[in-house]
Symmetry: D4
Subunit: 255 residues, 8 copies
């Protein structure tokens, strides 16, 4: 019973005020909130699909959470799968699920066979500095497309040769993208350079690519945070997923 129904029941004398009070106490805060319009844009939120972060989960956990999620929501995104998750997830095909595996990005999408694709809600670009940054960029791409974004992918645009940057950036802008994700490891300078040129929001994703002082991605992270180009915000190291969700929130509300 929702709050509204409780109130109605009270109004129709089906329950006493004391019973109403007790039943309201039974509601989760969330339910109370819904009624009370503390919903904070819940309808739109329901459009944000469920995702499973597999990194530290056992095979059983990942598979059973995935099954439940698909049964409830029609589809599910699984990120950061480990080697041992792969076969059991692919085996879900035998149970009638549609299963897409993105090896470099370490992601899966599992769907009901009759799940119909989302309408496009915006357009973003994903730029990666080097070949080794592609896994992070791919996680971002899969996530963004899953959330209904059209994605323009531009790879291998290193800072070492800036001339490789200008042409794709120009194309990017001309294509009407509303936000750019830039994945870069090592010195992580590319997002700052891009943000110094374009006038749409740039999201930096530091990657753990590099060796020596760069090897954990903190150099790239700090470099992006310290950038002189103010139109740049940053997510956690290797977080293609977070960047894509954040970009989606911008894109779907953009003109």
């Amino acid at each position: 019973m929702s709050l509204r129904e409780i109130l109605k029941a009270l109004d129709q004398k089906e329950i006493s005020p004391k019973e109403a009070e007790e039943q309201i106490a039974e509601l989760s805060i969330g339910s109370v909130g819904d009624l009370a319009r503390y919903d904070y844009d819940r309808e739109k939120r329901s459009g944000v699909p469920e995702a499973i972060y597999a990194e530290r989960k056992t095979v059983n956990e990942v598979v059973s959470i995935a099954q439940k999620a698909v049964n409830r929501l029609g589809r599910v995104l699984i990120t950061r799968v480990r080697e041992e998750h792969v076969k059991p997830l692919l085996a879900l095909r035998d149970e009638g699920f549609e299963v897409d595996y993105f090896e470099r990005g370490r992601c899966f999408i599992v769907k009901n066979s009759n799940y119909s694709p989302e309408p496009t809600i915006g357009k973003i670009a994903i730029i990666s500095a080097g070949t080794s940054d592609i896994p992070v960029a791919e996680e971002a791409k899969v996530t963004a497309e899953y959330h209904g974004c059209e994605v323009l992918m531009v790879t291998d645009v290193g800072i070492a040769g800036l001339h490789r940057l200008f042409t794709p950036l120009k194309e990017t802008i001309e294509n009407g993208v509303q936000v750019i994700i830039v994945c870069a490891g090592m010195e992580g300078a590319l997002p700052g350079v891009v943000a110094g040129i374009v006038t749409i929001p740039v999201i930096g994703v530091p990657t753990s690519v590099g060796h020596g002082v760069a090897a954990e991605g903190k150099t790239a992270l700090y470099s992006m945070l310290s950038s002189c180009s103010p139109g740049l915000a940053v997510v956690n190291i290797d977080s293609g997923f977070n960047a894509a969700v954040f970009a989606t929130l911008i894109a779907r509300n953009a003109k």
Copy 2:
């Protein structure tokens, strides 16, 4: 002479191909780029006002750069002023400038007396966790308003008492803001909590408020980057300015 004029002059035989080539060589890369439509949204960019980062500049540098900027552009924003900058900047009033000083935010806006205000281009909210985070929040507010945003300011919403959060957030959403900046020091949990509730982009600004392991703002920064709420991106510690510029880029393009 622009590239277009050079080409015209060549077309009309006023100059030779070799002269054209030489004159093009004289152009700055930027000028060439403009013509060649490598302009990357330059018109809009021209709408992004100049700002002076005063922290390590001498008094003379700050004052003279400010004067030049106002003479050229009509107004200028000066951030992170030091004690010794204050009097000389206020003294610019004697030269006919309009000077606004924001003490807690350590900012100045200097204008021509006849400078007319910008039209509003969007609406953002700025939430600060504690009283001590207000200076950073004020820098963000001054910057965002300077760039044409209408700003909803909500202060002292600590994580320690979550009940203080819900009502202002509800109001924020109902007011139609398009992006939220959340400033927090210490454990920096507030931006993640907010991003877990709303469905518009949230920009976290870690502040250097706190003592012990929190004292430099890194705990707040890492906490925000590690947040389980994906709709959150982060800027450098105490960077109210950067957060505001980034928010402006989102807001002005939002529906």
Copy 3:
């Protein structure tokens, strides 16, 4: 109107279900929660007195928040005061307030002249390793007494001479204390040694006392966290206040 009153009004047809729904929407989450018995021990909580963290607050802020708090609650604790706060706070005596200043602990207690002392709710011990740790120990002592604890203070019990430890510890236990706070800088070994001997909870407070690799208190903090003695938990560096509040929560519920 409380939720109960709204429900009654609905029951008595004074309002419609829709009006009830709207009025409930007007309630703060807290009010809703209260009714619904989400109160989480609020009565006891009201016994936890207000405290002001003055470190980054201006003189005006500290004084005016203090005045308001005393007027509302009868008294207030102010911690981490800076040099410039001292005189204005002492001047509150001229306005009829009772003002206690604890110089080493950098604390103030401001009271209504007619405020009657709290009943004692428990007994704790505070041990400090060296003379230089006393300011942190004093902050803990003032805080704990303010919350109604009887405090046994034992100072200058260094690890360098363990023989100085055994006698005071024995006395501590014989006095029936229910929890021990141990403040230590440098290598921070004392809390682990104490926790290896007693069988009541020990709270370690690392202090920033020391030089070289010890100078920021992290060595003491990590040392305590790594201690082989499991009966030890830790608070932030120099956080006498937090340790005292935590100890109070244990002591007031102890047999």
Copy 4:
């Protein structure tokens, strides 16, 4: 011979003062201490069962220490077992021991078959933020139960969706728990949020769950230490064992 016996023997002229002096010199400090009432609550301590930290021990060491401990004390807890310890420990069943294996928590309890369970000495709650934090929570649960606590386990209560927090917390309080352990990785905000709501002691256990800047658990640790909620103390990263022992010390002495 104890000190008392030595003194008696001297009194009865069975030995000379010099012999008494020599025999006292043979006593361990502890023995001397016991007599001299430096016992520091030893009786209660004898109630704290032995535990083996297996992480860096060889298979032989773990098995033989376990056997000795059970033979002496009736039972033993083994934490942080490695893959290679598992089979040899399970094989102790063949020798007539009762062996409980907790796979996710990486713990074993080995008992004499006739060991009778401890009486319950208190009630605690263990809350874990995400599925991946469960191993740490389980180590805490096994340890606390082993020490005689009744444990209320609440899993998967993330900060990202605070609405999932309120109902279980309410139940927790209503069930009369005396202390709450909260395990959280990533940004580690949950313990601070819980401590902001309840008025019993909260023990934070940072876990090494997360990636990028969160990956080693330091972000969670620092976040908890920096929390604005003062009723919170912290143990080492992934230290479910320490948290449980500390909680037991509080619970067994609580009203």
Copy 5:
């Protein structure tokens, strides 16, 4: 079409000014730059051979990039190969390539069978402190020779026995080397000592050799950066490749 050709075509009325403008817009920035003499020494640069950083690349990526590079440029250097890259790269011999494998330095050089060696462009010395630093030194040696340097290799010259240093240094200088690369792990003191003796540039390469506080190479790095000998500059940890390229730039321009 180059810019010059476009201008000629315009001059000869083969195209209109508008068409010229459009075609110039089609040029890459680089092409425009070339004409405009923004070439920045491009001819010399073409002498810097391509290199592939294999660390995070898949086997397929490394092999196919290598094939393309050799077909285009005659040869290619591959650094930081992983175990799994080795066989497939050696198998390129079956396709008619010349393949040199440097196991300790983890490098490959793949060439067309008819590729003729570069002329020598300078002379450098590479000194390594211990046996364990040799892999880094070998990467530097292979890289420098690949770029046309003659290399004098001096190994196992530890700081612990300075007497082992003087004789080889003397020989080095007498041989006319123009720059010295010094590879050292642990305390990383050797480059500073060498730079205190010689008067040619010294490039320090910190290595990740050592254990405890030395284990990641940061101690060696910081030690070199802090050296009192000013004639020393440093590259990233284990970056034999970078040191060799930097040394080549110095050597080829030296008298």
Copy 6:
């Protein structure tokens, strides 16, 4: 009464066994220990003079502790005095004390006027790398002499010019010193170089001299710990005092 006296009294029936037991309980652990020959070389220890670490002590604390120590022991060493301690300590001359002030080393020695100097117990050398390391070296020198060592002081022996090292080292050895203290900041290489040459123990004292990555002394510390020369042990940054005490323990027991 000592334990021996108690036993005698019991033997002579002056007290009962129960009284003996009670009186033993009154003894401090130390007293018990003494009798029981747990004295651990106490006689020699009594030769180790008292020292006061003034860094964080108030003026009053330092002066009164000093007075008491001199009255009890004849003299006292005070280290790390702050500016504000100097005058009040010098003023002790007016009270009849002998006061020596070592400005660069920030030390005081206060003595009874009739205190006769210690006999020399050993010979040590103190080497400092640069002029800026002298304050630390002087603290070591004052401390070592205070403890009865003859000190050979060698300053300004940088690693940048190793030729400045050999002659003083030779003299040092020829003078029969038994242990060498080497103070060095920046890259901290000197102690390792010295330990690679001599065959007596070398104690490294990292200093906080330097800028950039060297500025806090950690680079020097880590460099010394990572040194390939095994005959080297290290004390905390800037700890001239600790190095001198440690050296004294070696020297006074050396042949």
Copy 7:
């Protein structure tokens, strides 16, 4: 007496072999070394002028070392002067010295009035990213000119606006500079960008300009070390002096 003279005296029977041996023993290692041609380019070195690092030196030390150096060598460079050094150094003019003070670079050059300038030995460029980096750039400039380099200074070339970079770089190259020093704080990306364009050695000087994660210069340092552009080596944070000496060693030996 030099070694040569000793040998001559021996040859002419003025001294015995034993006397010769003794006198050689009196020589410093350096003197022996000179003769033995272990001179390592000493003649050129004598061209490297003396410099005084004033940071931690007292006023007396700085002034008296300066006087001695000028009297011996004709001139001296003093870097990192503190406020209190300035007046006493300027006062050296009263003693007939020529004194140049470079306020922003915190340097002094003191000369004999009749000291004649050095011949130019090479040409270098110094580029600084922002206005706040100028002090470091000025230290580099003063040092390089002092060592005989002609210096091309280019300031305020931020990465945020790359278009500001190309024109000055072009001029730099056209002017025939042999090595480029690039000073940059914050994200420190500029040196990598420059090294990606030019083909002469680039020396990166990270500066401590910035706030938050950039505030100590480590972000800039790590960023430069991690740069994908291999033609880049790095010196310590804010070390304009070291960069200039290193550049001089390259330039004076360049074609």
Copy 8:
């Protein structure tokens, strides 16, 4: 020819002064040094046996260096062997070598079958805090015995139960040891406690035992460096070898 012989030859006119000068130039610095009595105790040094640090060496390198060392010196110590080194080293028995393998300490001693043991040169104690610290303690023990020390081994003396410490310490002192090595991981408090009790030098060896903030040994290292007990010096993490060599240098020179 030695310098003395050269001088004699010159004296006897067998060579000219110029030839003498040339021949001296041929001498190694060391040879020159020898004559000039810069020998620095070389004779004693020859008594310090060779050791091989195997960590990063290949199997071939370790085996062949070992063979050469034994052939030259009669025996050799090999530390930090990896799994893959073990079999090939044991196989040296087939070649007639005597081979001792210390599995927990990861050490080998390889000897000529006729190598006669060293005379004992001193007596040291090695104390380890927990079972997991034994490998480091064993490396120290093997090394010290190899260098001729008699070793008293005391294991499992944790800080958690100080009563386990006093008895072994007493025995240690009574046995006449001249220096104590204390190995401890986790919070690393034991060495400071020991140094606070005894009056002979204590060498702390931090170990990498522990988890969470203790896991790399830095907490133990910093804790020891920060200890209030001044009679303590420290070596690198897990450096049983360095501690033993340092202890040997003390012991062999002790009364």
